[in-house]
Symmetry: C2
Subunit: 191 residues, 2 copies
């Protein structure tokens, strides 16, 4: 499938308001089918996603968001809760079968947490760009009560919430002016 770098990067915006256009389950499956191939260290793939769509699940999530994020969470056709599974070492015999990668993490909670956070966030970046490739807009949000979202949505698992992302077709009328970015020379050097 062809997509433009304008749609992926240079002309894409984070959205705050959403058009009344549906996001079918089949598209969420297409989204995962793209993003899952992005690289992670030792293929550890710690990202777990809850796609919140129903009124019941929305009613559970909205009050746990920061006040400024509630209306956009309520209004999005689908809101993805991106979690990272601290139990990922148990998937390594399947995901990285040619060596005993699980043993690299045994008993090392700090290494597990760091690996899950780095790679779960990388996969979050893949999710955002894969959604854009499929014609969706994104509205990523970090402002919410993380402990409460963990308890309400990931109970009985080792998954911790990383960030939350509205998915749908954004309303261009609700966009703010675009903020600047750092220049190459402010952020990079060639050595």
């Amino acid at each position: 499938m062809q997509v433009s770098t304008e749609r992926l990067f240079t002309e894409a915006r984070s959205h705050n308001g959403w058009l009344d256009r549906p996001v079918p389950d089949a598209l969420l499956r297409e989204l995962y089918e793209l993003l899952r191939w992005g690289p992670t260290s030792a293929n550890c793939s710690p990202l777990r996603v809850l796609f919140v769509r129903s009124a019941e699940a929305k009613a559970k999530l909205v009050p746990l968001m920061a006040p400024g994020n509630r209306e956009k969470t309520a209004g999005a056709p689908v809101v993805a809760i991106l979690g990272m599974d601290l139990g990922f070492p148990d998937t390594l015999p399947k995901l990285f079968p040619h060596t005993d990668a699980r043993s690299w993490f045994a008993g090392d909670e700090a290494k597990i947490a760091e690996t899950a956070f780095r790679n779960g966030s990388l996969q979050g970046g893949y999710l955002i760009l894969a959604a854009r490739a499929l014609g969706l807009d994104c509205g990523p949000m970090s402002g919410f009560d993380a402990k409460a979202v963990d308890a309400a949505f990931w109970g009985g698992t080792q998954v911790k919430t990383n960030f939350v992302c509205g998915l749908g077709h954004g309303d261009p009328a609700k966009l703010f002016g675009r903020s600047p970015r750092l220049s190459f020379d402010e952020a990079c050097r060639v050595l």
Copy 2:
């Protein structure tokens, strides 16, 4: 510019060996020009990149990599050291000018570190996919002596190394067999 989702996701591979084809500085600037537009919370943009190309800089980096990563680091036309700047709050008056976002972080080192890690890793995902969009292959690596790389490359700054990524044109003959991924039903649910 048009790019295919096969090149970005489903047919892309992490590379271990590199063809003798150059990666000009102009392409590194194009790479940053794409990735810098990807979203970060409060537009904080903590990613900093050192593109290691010269023999001197390579000689400094290679011995700090884990033994299994040394040959592929030495052989890549360019190796990006992706850092995250813990001093990012000082850029917020410029990057997020409509409110006093710097004050959200004042004195809260844990929040600064978490925000830098999450958003610097998101930007790492954007870098990998932007490189692929430009026809480059990637070889991301987490195995290195992070404290030593910090000291050797980011001295006198608040930047910490996140991960390292070879950039160039991969040698398909050096690829391993592709590892499986989790299915939608193993990693996701619709609520």
